[in-house]
């Protein structure tokens, strides 16, 4: 039985179609990255998975429960790590965890709190109020709070958004540990590197639906090819190179101050300038080619 099944899911806010016919199946034990630009419908999808948003149309099954009718049962077996920090900041670290252990009706609350403290590596800070913790510690606590009841499924909504690189790497290590222990994870992100490093499979979302889905390697092979050539130079020159490549049927995208010729291994002689920088095709190339958005 898949952990998550979404069929033809739709959700509008006035004239905006936030989710527009989204289909997605996540098998148990898989870490799936929901990769998409801001406004692609990732957070709305996450909210529908917890029953905090009701779809206008479509079907949702989570851990075998039909939502939104059985959302409460489903939530009992899933953990959620939100995008925004919503910890109780005046309360101690261990009280934050204990409150949620009780909300999840965990039988042995002290044991669950101990386990979560170890996950967050905050055992020695247990008696401190949350507002005395660093940003990284608070994020770890947020993750541990979502795991306090040992959920079968973990929803991570942009787990590292706005964090500095060091804290991000810390969290990635924690999430990777969960993944290797077999916890099913659905992680929304707009960070390419995050999806590439953590996800077994990536579903690229744009305009409220999944437009591509496979392992990062497969996505790169299918949508980016083996090599990408980055060309730098003045705008006139870039325009010239771009036109020539596109006329020859190659795909070209902007890459900051440069242009990137995607699938450069297919280029005929003279199409890729000799001073171009060659690199392997990447998930970033896939993301930009499919969504038309700049990568972060």
């Amino acid at each position: 039985m898949p952990a998550i099944e979404l069929h033809n899911l739709k959700k509008s806010f006035g004239p905006i179609n936030a989710v527009d016919g989204l289909d997605l199946v996540v098998e148990e034990g898989v870490c799936l990255g929901l990769l998409g630009p801001n406004g692609a419908g990732k957070s709305t999808t996450m909210k529908m998975l917890t029953g905090q948003a009701i779809p206008d149309a479509g079907e949702i099954r989570v851990l075998g429960y039909k939502l939104p009718r059985e959302a409460k049962q489903a939530r009992a077996e899933m953990g959620v790590v939100p995008q925004l920090d919503n910890l109780d900041i005046d309360v101690t670290v261990e009280e934050n965890l204990a409150v949620f252990a009780r909300l999840y009706r965990v039988d042995d609350v002290p044991a669950a709190v101990e386990r979560a403290l170890e996950i967050a590596r905050l055992t020695d800070r247990r008696k401190e109020a949350v507002d005395r913790l660093s940003g990284g510690m608070r994020r770890r606590l947020l993750l541990a709070r979502g795991l306090v009841h040992e959920p079968r499924l973990l929803l991570l909504d942009e787990p590292t958004v706005g964090l500095d690189p060091q804290i991000r790497t810390e969290l990635w290590t924690l999430i990777d540990g969960l993944r290797s222990r077999g916890t099913t994870i659905l992680m929304s992100t707009h960070y390419i590197e995050e999806a590439e490093r953590l996800a077994d499979e990536v579903a690229v979302v744009a305009d409220g639906r999944v437009i591509a889905r496979a392992t990062p390697k497969e996505l790169i092979a299918e949508h980016a090819g083996e090599k990408t050539a980055e060309v730098y130079g003045p705008p006139d020159r870039l325009h010239e190179v771009r036109s020539a490549a596109e006329d020859a049927g190659l795909r070209v995208r902007s890459a900051g101050p440069a242009i990137a010729i995607v699938g450069a291994e297919m280029a005929g002689p003279g199409l890729v300038p000799h001073d171009a920088i060659h690199r392997a095709g990447s998930l970033e190339d896939v993301f930009v080619m499919l969504t038309g958005e700049e990568a972060e």
Binding site: G51, R75, V91
Partner: protein, 264 residues
């Protein structure tokens, strides 16, 4: 990891869930209870000194045979109840929903809006029932004789606070900006407070106000508290029933409004 087969059955209004949500409130309350308790104790003293002793020693000696200090002191129970229920419910709910995103976190757990609202109301009701007794205790130092029927006062305060907390939660779920609470305070809370019979008997007011006061839950609470202190009357059962019905109706409205706010 738990299996699907081992999953607990969930149903409506689970006591364990309601207690857990209240436990969260308690954990937070422990961080600021001193200031709240100080205000709740000090305020009735100030009112008693200003109105009770001030007016009582100069203009009004007694009202219907009740010493004026005790008349005001017993009336202040209703004041304490409304200010410790409606206002925290309005501001607390709005802040937790909009700024702290606390309800997003709670509703991601197996808790539904009905349980959330019920727990918040019960917590505020319990707090108000305790704070509502403070003016009574203070008035005892001004000569109010303890009576066994006074033990009913926390129950009266609790039920009234449930109604006002539901009202506050409903308002929080209805406004888009926190400063819109000024309208609620000015147009609803203050008038209710002024025509509750706390500082003067309402039979001094024009007849229209006297009739309107009958629909004022604060007035009914003031009467219940005074009767619990100076002698209960059969009509008090009706007053209490009215407050219970009001609390129930406002509870359902609060759930409906919060559901519309929280579940998109």
């Amino acid at each position: 990891m738990k299996s699907a087969e081992g999953a607990r059955t969930v149903r409506r209004l689970e006591p364990a869930v309601i207690l857990a949500v209240m436990g969260r409130e308690l954990a937070n309350f422990r961080t600021f209870w001193k200031s709240t308790a100080f205000t709740s104790t000090f305020e009735p003293i100030v009112y008693l000194l200003a109105f009770g002793l001030g007016l009582g020693s100069t203009l009004v000696a007694d009202v219907d045979g009740i010493d004026y200090v005790q008349f005001v002191g017993t009336g202040l129970v209703a004041t304490a109840v409304v200010f410790s229920s409606a206002l925290p419910a309005m501001f607390g709910t709005f802040v937790k929903e909009r700024f702290q995103r606390t309800y997003d976190a709670i509703l991601a757990a197996p808790v539904d809006v009905e349980e959330l609202v019920t727990a918040e109301m019960l917590w505020i009701g319990l707090r108000s029932a305790i704070f509502g007794c403070f003016p009574l205790i203070v008035t005892m130092f001004f000569g109010l004789e303890p009576e066994p029927t006074m033990l009913l006062v926390p129950i009266f305060a609790f039920v009234t606070a449930l109604a006002f907390s539901a009202f506050g939660i409903t308002m929080a779920a209805s406004v888009s900006k926190i400063d819109q609470f000024n309208y609620v305070t000015t147009l609803v809370i203050t008038p209710l407070f002024l025509v509750a019979g706390t500082f003067f008997p309402i039979d001094q007011l024009p007849q229209g106000f006297q009739i309107a006061a009958q629909f004022n839950p604060l007035y009914q609470l003031v009467q219940l508290v005074r009767d619990a202190c100076f002698g209960l009357e059969p009509v008090d059962a009706l007053r209490f029933l009215g407050l219970l019905i009001l609390a129930f109706v406002l509870w359902r409205i609060a759930i409906r409004r919060m559901t519309r706010r929280l579940i998109i």
